[in-house]
């Protein structure tokens, strides 16, 4: 067989889109203003150009984002924003002359975005001002409610290429008040730390107590500064510790709270009895460093918020039949038995029966099937399917919360928060540490017993020095830094602790459609065997069929334009659905189909080879193979992961591409997997003691993503993220997965190194404490020093590793 004639399309040209700077492929637009990759980009460019806002393109490098996905969106998708209930929920502040709304706009990424979006008032008289938050990717719009509406604002944003993501439920992210509180706590602790140091250093420098007037004044001032630190700044640690003890569980905050409490009480005691100056400098310093760690954690957590449920995929409102008319109603008010209208591009909210004209439904997101399914009148359309081509009129068979889609969601796997390995370690470590420290304190106290004061000194000194502050810092600092560096490279973690889980996975399950292959319609075609003229005849026959492979053949290859085929004369066509098509074209017998079909129709015995579709024109034999475009580098990445992990393919699609992936996954492939199958697979693997990473994209993976130790969602369109995942990876970064896993392993090693260093510090301090030689000065040096060592070590190690391992 002639394998030389392999074409692959689309061919890349060097023309770049004027808006998004991506290569213009087939279907690109060239007009007098420039070249555009798609109609969406051209539309956005035109709006900006007409508004005289061309400076958008020069503010920052490549500010435009591709609008290819935008063209498929329903023009009426924001109509739900006209509904009063929806408006009420979204508007955060409302006065007759001004209202305020905050939209999450995932495509905000550069200074050009700020420049453009803060001039939103140019597009609408009703908009007073708009303010972008680059870090959280939100835009806050102040507008006059009588002059414009939420819907118009959302449509204007979409028109300039910034599609707002409107979720039916509010994403849980740290609230502004919680953030401000943390800043205040940190500020108070830092203020107290500095001032207490100022009043403590004279005493240390002097080597002996100062003049009583000054010593008393300084002690009093120190107490004055330290008390707000205890009551306000350190409050979160005492609260968490108390909560943990009340639930009879353990947390790393327990020994921290004990240590902080011992520091403060011992200091009050020392100052009160006039025995010494206390440890208030160490105390405030510790609280300050601990809060710094907490701030790092918050920053990472805050930069992306993607807590979604299945409802994020359903429209905000649907058109429901009320009497003779269809009126828009919020999803909550739609119940079983209602008749609804679903327009092309919209998602069916609940399982429903098709009432009139047959239509097509795309289940790609729910099941992973690439090909839209034809639905006849009276057939059931499942929730989550996307209407294609025509308006569907449906009668709902279930309530929204009882659909097949929601039933997956009701699985207990979604109910409880995922247990993190780091939490488990912290809990067992906290228990061990608390028992050890209190035990040692009691033992130390007992050893000095006859001397009551020395005994108390030693016991409190042990509790003070055993406060695992450096230990507490090492995980948030290291993992926070790691999560930050990973985010720069396209892997966004929901929680820095995910790094720890990622570092110990041994089994990886991949979804196929949308994960290994890109979801867009760009398909790769391989073909061979026929002459150009014969392909033209095959193309003419294929035009008679609606099968996806036929459609690809009929749509033409880059060397044969679709129009040429129409001149051919086709007759006596016989199609056997799913097997092949036969007919006479220009007097020649032409057959296209699977081997079985070819044997009966064309009396042609061909070996089943890969997943090819065979073509016979007269005496000439050829073949064609179509696959979804595989993301570049993904195969190599999977092969690399296979050397150290056991990797699986779990696909909701049919087995058509089994051969395509055989070399990568071998026998470890499962096709036609329902969401429940995938979930069961992951659960079984976990029960067998494996640590599983699931990489998926569709709603059909959400159960598996939630069940896996780490669930990573692949997303081309950050506006649409699968619920229940732990991390999101940009579509073009899937191939970097092996590096991400290695980096996570490095992060774990750094955390353990930090653990070791801080334990060494604690051991050194403990020997001093047990000897009864822990002076305030020793503590004031040792404790900040250990914290600073940890912070410096963890950050620089992760930064250095990021530069070596992660290439941007």
């Amino acid at each position: 067989m002639d394998l030389a004639a392999i074409d692959s399309y689309p061919t890349l040209t060097t023309t770049l889109c004027r808006h998004c700077n991506e290569p213009c492929r087939t279907g690109s637009i060239a007009c007098d203003t420039g070249n555009f990759c798609c109609a969406g980009c051209e539309a956005v460019f035109t709006v900006l150009h007409r508004a005289g806002l061309d400076a958008f393109y020069t503010c920052d490098v490549q500010p435009g984002t591709s609008q290819q996905l935008a063209s498929g969106r329903d023009a009426l998708r924001f109509s739900a924003l006209d509904d009063a209930a929806v408006v009420d929920r979204l508007v955060t502040f409302s006065r007759p002359d001004m209202a305020r709304v905050t939209f999450s706009v995932p495509s905000i990424h550069c200074s050009s975005c700020i420049w453009l979006l803060e001039q939103l008032w140019r597009f609408d008289d009703g908009i007073i001002r708009s303010e972008v938050d680059l870090f959280r990717r939100t835009i806050r719009v102040d507008f006059r409610p009588h002059a414009t509406t939420l819907r118009r604002i959302a449509e204007r944003l979409a028109a300039i290429g910034y599609e707002p993501s409107i979720s039916p439920e509010d994403a849980t992210r740290t609230t502004a008040s919680a953030r401000r509180r943390l800043h205040l706590q940190l500020g108070v602790a830092g203020f107290a730390f500095g001032n207490i140091m100022l009043f403590s250093i004279p005493r240390y420098a002097n080597g002996a107590p100062l003049d009583p007037t000054f010593q008393h004044l300084f002690d009093a001032l120190n107490l004055l500064f330290a008390t707000p630190v205890l009551l306000f700044s350190a409050a979160p640690y005492f609260q968490t510790a108390w909560e943990a003890l009340r639930r009879r569980s353990m947390a790393i905050e327990v020994p921290v709270a004990i240590g902080l409490g011992a520091l403060y009480l011992r200091s009050v005691l020392d100052i009160g009895t006039g025995r010494g100056e206390g440890f208030l400098d160490s105390f405030s310093g510790l609280v300050f460093f601990l809060l710094c760690g907490r701030l790092v954690q918050h920053k990472v957590f805050d930069s992306i918020a993607f807590d979604r449920t299945y409802r994020s995929f359903l429209p905000l409102s649907v058109r429901v039949q009320r009497g003779d008319d269809f009126a828009l109603a919020p999803l909550d008010r739609v119940t079983r038995g209602d008749t609804i209208e679903v327009r092309p591009g919209e998602v069916v909210p609940a399982d429903a029966e098709l009432l009139d004209r047959p239509g097509r439904v795309d289940y790609a997101f729910v099941t992973g099937e690439q090909v839209p399914v034809a639905v006849e009148r009276g057939e059931t359309v499942r929730a989550g399917g996307r209407a294609m081509g025509d308006v569907l009129r449906l009668r709902l068979l279930t309530d929204v919360c009882h659909s097949h889609l929601a039933s997956l969601w009701n699985n207990p796997i979604f109910a409880k928060p995922k247990s993190r390995w780091l939490t488990a370690i912290a809990v067992s470590f906290g228990t061990w540490f608390t028992i050890g420290a209190t035990g040692l304190a009691v033992a130390g106290g007992a050893a000095w017993w006859p001397d009551g004061s020395a005994s108390l000194n030693v016991a409190t000194a042990v509790l003070i020095i055993a406060c695992p502050c450096a230990l507490t810092l090492s995980a948030p600092m290291t993992l926070g830094a790691a999560a930050g560096f990973l985010a720069k490279r396209g892997l966004y973690l929901k929680d820095p602790a995910v790094v720890f889980d990622l570092s110990r996975i041994d089994t990886i399950a991949f979804d196929k459609t949308g994960t290994l292959t890109a979801t867009d319609a760009q398909q790769t075609i391989e073909r061979g065997g026929l002459s150009r003229e014969s392909w033209r005849l095959a193309q003419a026959l294929a035009a008679c069929s609606t099968h996806p492979v036929s459609r690809v053949i009929a749509s033409g290859f880059d060397s044969v334009a679709a129009g040429q085929a129409e001149t051919a004369r086709v007759s006596e066509v016989i199609e056997k659905p799913g097997a092949g098509i036969f007919g006479w074209v220009n007097g020649l017998p032409v057959a296209i189909g699977v081997p079985g079909f070819m044997a009966t129709r064309a009396a042609d015995a061909v070996a089943d080879h890969d997943d090819r579709t065979f073509v016979r024109v007269g005496a000439e034999r050829g073949w064609v193979r179509v696959f979804g475009a595989v993301r570049p580098g993904v195969e190599a990445a999977a092969q690399m992961l296979a050397s150290s992990h056991s990797i699986w393919l779990l696909s909701g699609d049919h087995e058509g591409e089994r051969c395509r992936w055989l070399s990568v996954f071998g026998p470890r492939m499962r096709f036609r997997q329902t969401p429940h199958d995938k979930l069961a697979f992951i659960t079984a693997a976990k029960d067998a003691g494996h640590h599983v990473l699931m990489v998926g994209d569709g709603l059909n993976d959400s159960g598996a993503l939630a069940a896996a130790d780490v669930g990573i969602t692949v997303s081309d369109d950050t506006a649409c993220i699968v619920p229940a995942c732990d991390a999101v990876v940009a579509g073009n970064r899937v191939a970097d997965l092996p590096v991400f896993v290695r980096y996570a392993k490095r992060a774990r090693a750094v955390v353990f190194l930090c653990f070791l260093v801080s334990v060494l510090y604690n051991a050194a301090g403990l020997t001093l404490a047990l000897k009864g030689a822990l002076t305030p000065l020793a503590s004031a040096v040792l404790m900040p020093l250990s914290s600073l060592t940890i912070v410096g070590l963890s950050w620089s190690a992760m930064h250095w590793s990021a530069r070596r391992m992660l290439k941007s």
Binding site: A43, V47, C59, F123, D133, R180, H183, F191, F214, L221
Partner: protein, 60 residues
């Protein structure tokens, strides 16, 4: 040496002044977004005080 007391009181007052300023800054939202203003200051021509005839009425 009593002058030290005076110095401490003066120093403490100044320090407390800064603490109050910090609290005010946090409460007024200056720490809510620490990235965007740094970029925004480098951009020009986006003030909403422009006259209405500058507004764009045709969109899309």
């Amino acid at each position: 040496m009593t002058v030290l007391i005076l110095l401490i009181v003066a120093g403490g007052t100044v320090a407390c002044g800064f603490l109050v300023a910090f609290v005010w800054a946090v409460r007024s939202g200056q720490f809510d977004d620490t990235r965007t203003p740094a970029v925004r200051i480098l951009l020009d021509g986006q003030h909403a005080d422009a006259s209405a005839n500058e507004r764009v009425h045709s969109i899309g």
